[in-house]
């Protein structure tokens, strides 16, 4: 990467997948670097995407570290930059800098049962962990993926889920009743209670809307998960990505550097201001 931390590298959009539609549509962008460019990343890390004339936005890297040819970002249309990104086409060139932040401690989870609990676009930050775990399934116990969306048409990575279901236990849910829906009907925390995974030798990783995370953590605790067995990620407004612009902090931690990944044991020692 550049010696100048603020100067992005240029990279090409090689593919765009429309995941969901509507006012808050989600698209997945596949970004390719020119020969010899790019950077390696770890599960959970983020990158700053740049659209010149619009600004920058920090997005978690949704592709697995093992995938070197490209990086994938699933982006919900939300602010100025993400809206402009949604208007781009394959072949357009954007700026990218990173990787930023810490990582999920997959190495420490060898031999454990992994339980992922995602909601909405919150599947993206944990997707590289799921992919890496599944690709190294021998290193882990069982792998379970809970995922919920508002409706079946709001489910991300639909095609990938079919593939995933062959290698992991998949528990899908939609918020409201739908004809022909075979999964669970109701919110993600309720689906979690319904299936009641055992905390024995398990690690739970959750990401989604703040309100969902709150209830998922409460329910995991009810199921007997200890604080050290629960992991989540924090999202905050970011500008620099390198611990200097001062806005992404939760207490003493700049999330862009110390986060986004936290165990609940660590997170509860920080002020609840996020």
């Amino acid at each position: 990467m550049n010696a100048n931390v603020y100067l992005p590298a240029l990279a090409r959009i090689a593919g765009i997948e429309e995941e969901t539609r509507g006012a808050r549509a989600i698209k997945t962008f596949r970004i390719e670097f020119p020969e010899g460019g790019g950077f390696d990343h770890e599960c959970g890390q983020c990158a700053m995407l740049s659209l010149f004339g619009k600004g920058e936005v920090m997005i978690s890297i949704a592709s697995a570290p093992a995938v070197k040819e490209y990086k994938q970002f699933s982006i919900m249309k939300s602010g100025r930059v993400t809206t402009a990104l949604h208007d781009l086409d394959v072949g357009d060139v954007i700026g990218i800098r990173g990787p930023y932040g810490n990582q999920f401690p997959l190495d420490q989870w060898k031999g454990r049962n992994l339980i992922f609990v995602g909601g909405g676009v919150g599947l993206a930050p944990i997707w590289p962990v799921i992919q890496t775990a599944v690709a190294n399934a021998d290193d882990f116990g069982s792998i379970t993926v809970f995922y919920g969306a508002r409706s079946s048409s709001d489910i991300m990575y639909k095609a990938d889920f079919e593939e995933l279901a062959r290698k992991a236990i998949v528990q899908l849910s939609v918020d409201g009743a739908e004809d022909g829906w075979k999964g669970y009907t109701g919110f993600v925390p309720a689906n979690l209670m319904d299936k009641a995974p055992s905390p024995d030798n398990a690690i739970a990783i959750t990401c989604g809307p703040p309100i969902m995370i709150k209830f998922v953590i409460q329910n995991l605790q009810k199921l007997g998960f200890a604080d050290e067995q629960i992991y989540t990620t924090i999202e905050n407004k970011m500008k620099c990505g390198v611990g200097k612009c001062g806005r992404c902090n939760v207490g003493k931690d700049y999330v862009c550097v110390k986060g986004p990944v936290y165990s609940w044991a660590e997170l509860k020692t920080l002020p609840q201001e996020y």
């Binding site: 931390v5 603020y6 902090n249 207490g251 550097v257």
Partner: protein, 345 residues
């Protein structure tokens, strides 16, 4: 290296340095004291209290172009890096609280990821400090935050006013360079001069200042009372103007925005500007969710950053007790009072 400069030769020394570097010194302009560029024939005298604006602007300007961009329609963008071509700069009359703030700014900008814009300017600037013989403001509290009216931290040279002369001590290599370069003007200090300087420093320490409990006590108290209702009470009058942080010598928060100069082809600059934790949109997510959604939470952030979070991360307070945020707050919000009342110390 300790030397003596006769007061009447100060302007000569400044002029000599001015031949090789841009020199700034405190001057009274537009009704306030500020660092102003010194022209060749200016008579320099130190009779300022403290400048309204801190010295941080020399290394972290209010507005800095990070790079320029250009994009023909249908083509890839081009980026043109604009690292500052910083020229040698010597700043006179820097108060010790601003010097100590520079140590804090160094921690922010050069630890972890190095900030090349800050670094380029920092490498080129020499800070010539001026010890305070008495607190320049009724809101000074440097002694309570580990500093002193004659602290050398972050300064390259420290000048102390004596009878008819200045005691001039070079602290860093950069400082020695400008002192050694003026051997004809600066005499070697004698033992008596050193004693006189030490006495001036000791006298300065005796002047009463505002007082805050120890670093450890304040930090522990702020941590314990994070949820105190006092934050809201004490912040109620805040109008969110941001004067407190813009004028703080160690506040470093910034924003990054694109400024477009032409639409076709697309040309413009990515610019960083000072930003402010007292503004609601500083932390507001694009969803509308705001982790620091009211003035109480924002005052808590400002005070806790200075006196708790920075201590947790670097084991020093970020506030250096200059008193500017107190003197210039239009509604009288006072960091000493707030920290004392909330922490119960």
């Amino acid at each position: 290296m300790e030397t003596i400069l006769k007061k009447e030769r100060l302007s000569e020394w400044v002029a000599q340095i001015g031949a090789r570097a841009t020199v700034f010194a405190p001057a009274f302009a537009d009704g306030i004291w500020n660092f102003c560029a010194v022209a060749a024939d200016t008579k320099v005298e130190f009779d300022h209290g403290n400048t309204v604006r801190p010295a941080k602007g020399f290394v972290f300007p209010q507005r800095e172009v990070l790079y320029r961009f250009r994009q023909e329609s249908g083509k890839a963008p081009e980026l043109m890096e604009t690292l500052p071509a910083a020229a040698p700069t010597v700043v006179f009359g820097v108060r010790p609280c601003d010097g100590r703030a520079m140590v804090r700014n160094d921690k922010v900008f050069t630890c972890g990821f190095n900030d090349p814009y800050y670094q380029a300017r920092r490498d080129q600037v020499v800070f010539v400090g001026l010890a305070c013989s008495e607190p320049p403001s009724q809101n000074c509290f440097c002694l309570s935050v580990g500093g002193s009216p004659h602290s050398e931290d972050g300064l390259d040279v420290l000048m102390t006013e004596l009878d008819g002369r200045y005691h001039v001590k070079a602290i860093t290599a950069k400082g020695r360079e400008i002192v050694e370069g003026a051997a004809a003007l600066l005499d070697k200090a004698q033992a008596a001069d050193g004693k006189a300087a030490a006495k001036a420093h000791a006298d300065a320490d005796k002047h009463p200042q505002r007082a805050l409990a120890t670093m450890e006590k304040v930090a522990a108290g702020l941590k314990e009372h994070f949820d105190s209702p006092k934050w809201d009470e004490l912040a109620r009058a805040c109008i969110g103007c941001g004067a407190c942080t813009y004028l703080c010598p160690s506040c470093h928060c910034f924003d990054i925005n694109d400024e477009i100069t032409s639409n076709v082809p697309l040309t413009g600059e990515r610019v960083r500007t000072w930003d402010n934790c007292q503004f609601p949109d500083f932390t507001m997510h694009s969803s509308g969710h705001n982790p620091r959604h009211d003035t109480g939470a924002r005052l808590r952030q400002r005070v806790s950053h200075k006196l708790l979070y920075f201590v947790e991360n670097h084991n020093i307070q970020q506030c250096t007790g200059c008193g500017r945020c107190i003197s210039h707050c239009p509604v009288g919000i006072d960091i000493v009072r707030v920290a004392t009342e909330v922490s119960g110390q």
